[in-house]
């Protein structure tokens, strides 16, 4: 009983690391642009497929992580500049922008379905024999993935707090008009945000398939609810909040999977969002959010 709980929590931390990486990317993009980008899951899957192709051609999965991240950066930048920005220029509001990203998600997902021939591919790399840490049986890869989440979090926090571009990013997210009149080149900040959030998105895609050991066209779309839920819970633009809620959701999901029906594990993660919605409606109601503008 106790052992099951402890190992469920350990697996929860590993899952949380995957959610957290994706959710940190989502939240800085969301914090800056104010728009819910539902094509995020599609970019995640596409980057995961890029890594899959590399690895199946004999490249090490560690390079796969980096290349997957770069692929995510590039795709997010291209989609942001050439697809989403024209809509924002036409005066689309937050809700219309979300609908556009939804259409984009459809195009990405089913494009990947067409390219992948609707198959699920095995991705069994970096698997090693499990080790025993007290009552926990875990593979070294999973430990590394959990560590990677921590590294990304610390790196992102340092970037946002200590560097000039990080400060510019936070300023633009808080007050785009004021930031621009203070001499911050907000156009560049938006580009950096696309690149940064895209990198985290791609990285999360690869980390996710290393953890789940398979990749299919709907991988990202089915994972996206957890990512969005963690970002909404944590508050827009807050990597710390994203990490805390990712930990909460990861652990709840795995504990429910260990003790109850696995089918309901995702539902339990979602239930966390619903409970917070009911208990603290202010989290998402956000009075200033009603007038928030799209920044692109």
């Amino acid at each position: 009983m106790f052992t099951t709980l402890i190992s469920a929590i350990a697996f929860g931390v590993v899952l949380a690391s995957v959610i957290a990486i994706a959710s940190m990317g989502f939240t800085i993009q969301f914090g800056l642009t104010n728009m819910l980008n539902l094509s995020y899951g599609g970019v995640m899957t596409a980057s995961a497929f890029v890594a899959y192709l590399l690895v199946s051609h004999g490249v090490s999965a560690w390079y796969g992580l980096i290349v997957g991240g770069l692929a995510g950066s590039l795709m997010t930048l291209v989609l942001g500049r050439f697809v989403l920005r024209p809509y924002a220029r036409r005066g689309a509001k937050l809700f219309e922008m979300m609908m556009v990203t939804l259409g984009l998600a459809l195009v990405l997902d089913y494009g990947l379905q067409a390219l992948s021939h609707d198959n699920i591919y095995q991705f069994t790399v970096l698997q090693s024999s499990p080790i025993h840490l007290g009552p926990i049986v875990i593979t070294p890869t999973q430990v590394i993935l959990a560590g990677l989440g921590l590294v990304v979090f610390v790196g992102l926090e340092l970037l946002l707090r200590l560097t000039r571009i990080g400060k510019a990013l936070r300023a633009t997210a808080a007050e785009p008009t004021l930031a621009r009149s203070c001499g911050i080149r907000t156009g560049r900040v938006v580009i950096v945000t696309w690149l940064l959030s895209g990198f985290l998105c791609g990285l999360a895609g690869v980390v996710y398939i290393i953890n789940s050991q398979s990749v299919g066209y709907s991988t990202g779309e089915l994972f996206l609810p957890l990512v969005i839920a963690a970002a909404l819970l944590g508050g827009a633009g807050s990597p710390k909040g994203a990490v805390v809620s990712a930990l909460l959701m990861g652990i709840v999901t795995q504990v429910v999977a260990a003790f109850g029906q696995p089918a309901y594990s995702t539902v339990a993660g979602f239930a966390v969002l619903v409970i917070v919605l009911l208990a603290r409606p202010g989290v998402v109601a956000g009075s200033q959010g009603a007038e928030a503008q799209v920044t692109l």
Binding site: L102, D109, Y110, D118, A229, L278
Partner: protein
């Protein structure tokens, strides 16, 4: 000729069911302003419930499928229960999903509901037989009516069209009633509507539940026709077909919605059946979805108001009585002339 007749009648049944779905979403989204991205869930629950109460009790002898609430109820009851199930589920979802929050958050929450519900129905075999779904659902009165299968097709066409027209009359009446005007006021100016003393939370929940009931009804009609239902039939993307139909045809305009339904789910999704097979099996399906996504984005970019835009509510002097709900006694007025002139 028989095969063609069969095909055409099938298309008409699908068309009527798709129009019902579009009416439901048009009421919720077009008039109520609720971006119900979990629409397909309410159609699915209607279909599952209608299936379970038609199939008979789950005795365990039919070991190939398991489901809950097994019963074999007589003809109109499965449809009634499907409607009730759609309404009940939308009440539950509405109670937490329709809280006052940013519209895009609300849409995201409803989309998450759709994905989660699908995941649960797919992985929990005990609910409705998991990913294999339920099959072998008998057609209503299929054994009692002395008809050939083609004759039955025509009966079903008339039956679905009759329901469709009844629902059309209902939604037309609802959207022009004082209730419908409050709904439009809430959509356009929520704060002003609250200041008029209208309870917008209750109003939003009401329109969500009515839409859910229509969605459940359409699901029941569909499953009684095709005889099977599984998670493959209601992925989250199916909701977007209905939305695309609305965007293309014209949101808030019932004729536009019907036109969009004819164009998108019927003509666009049915025509590729006549294409010679290209690539591997399933490629055409994927490409269809890609084009649906592109149509969606294109109509948002070039023509957000749709092919037939909403008619603005205009009040003509002679018509004041009917607008305020009193009903104009004068059968002939300048306003009615003007209206006829507009076509």
């Amino acid at each position: 000729m028989g095969a063609w007749e069969f095909y055409i009648t099938t298309l008409v049944v699908y068309f009527a069911i798709d129009v019902l779905s579009a009416f439901s979403l048009n009421l919720q989204f077009g008039f109520g302003g609720i971006i119900n991205l979990s629409f397909i869930v309410f159609q699915a629950i209607g279909a599952y419930v209608a299936a379970a109460v038609t199939l008979g009790p789950d005795t365990g002898q039919n070991a190939f499928q398991t489901y809950i609430w097994g019963a074999s109820l007589p003809f109109p009851l499965p449809l009634v229960l499907a409607t009730v199930a759609g309404a009940a589920l939308s009440l539950v979802v509405g109670l937490f999903g329709l809280r006052r929050m940013r519209k895009d958050y609300q849409a995201a929450v409803l989309l998450i509901v759709s994905l989660i519900a699908w995941e649960v129905a797919k992985s929990d075999v005990h609910l409705f037989n998991g990913s294999n779904g339920v099959t072998g659902i008998g057609r209503p009165l299929g054994t009692t009516l002395p008809l050939s299968s083609l004759g039955y097709q025509w009966v079903y066409v008339v039956w679905t069209l009759a329901i469709c027209i009844a629902v059309y009359a209902l939604v037309r009446w609802l959207s022009s009633s004082p209730w419908g005007r409050a709904l439009r006021a809430m959509r356009d100016q929520e704060d002003a509507t609250i200041s008029l003393g209208i309870n917008v939370t209750a109003l939003r929940l009401q329109v969500f539940v009515i839409g859910g009931a229509i969605a459940g009804l359409s699901g029941g009609l569909l499953v009684e026709y095709i005889g099977a239902w599984s998670p493959g039939a209601w992925g989250y993307a199916e909701t977007f077909v209905v939305f695309t139909a609305m965007f293309v045809g014209g949101i808030r305009n019932y004729k536009g919605v019907i036109l969009g339904t004819l164009l998108v789910p019927i003509i666009f999704l049915e025509l590729p059946r006549f294409l010679p097979p290209i690539g591997y099996p399933g490629l055409i399906d994927s490409v269809e979805w890609i084009v649906i996504g592109l149509m969606w984005m294109g109509s948002l970019y070039w023509r957000p108001q749709g092919l037939l835009p909403e008619k603005r509510n205009m009040v003509f002097p002679g018509e004041f009585g009917s607008v305020t709900g009193g009903g104009s006694k004068a059968g002939f007025s300048l306003a009615s002339l003007l209206r006829k002139g507009q076509g």
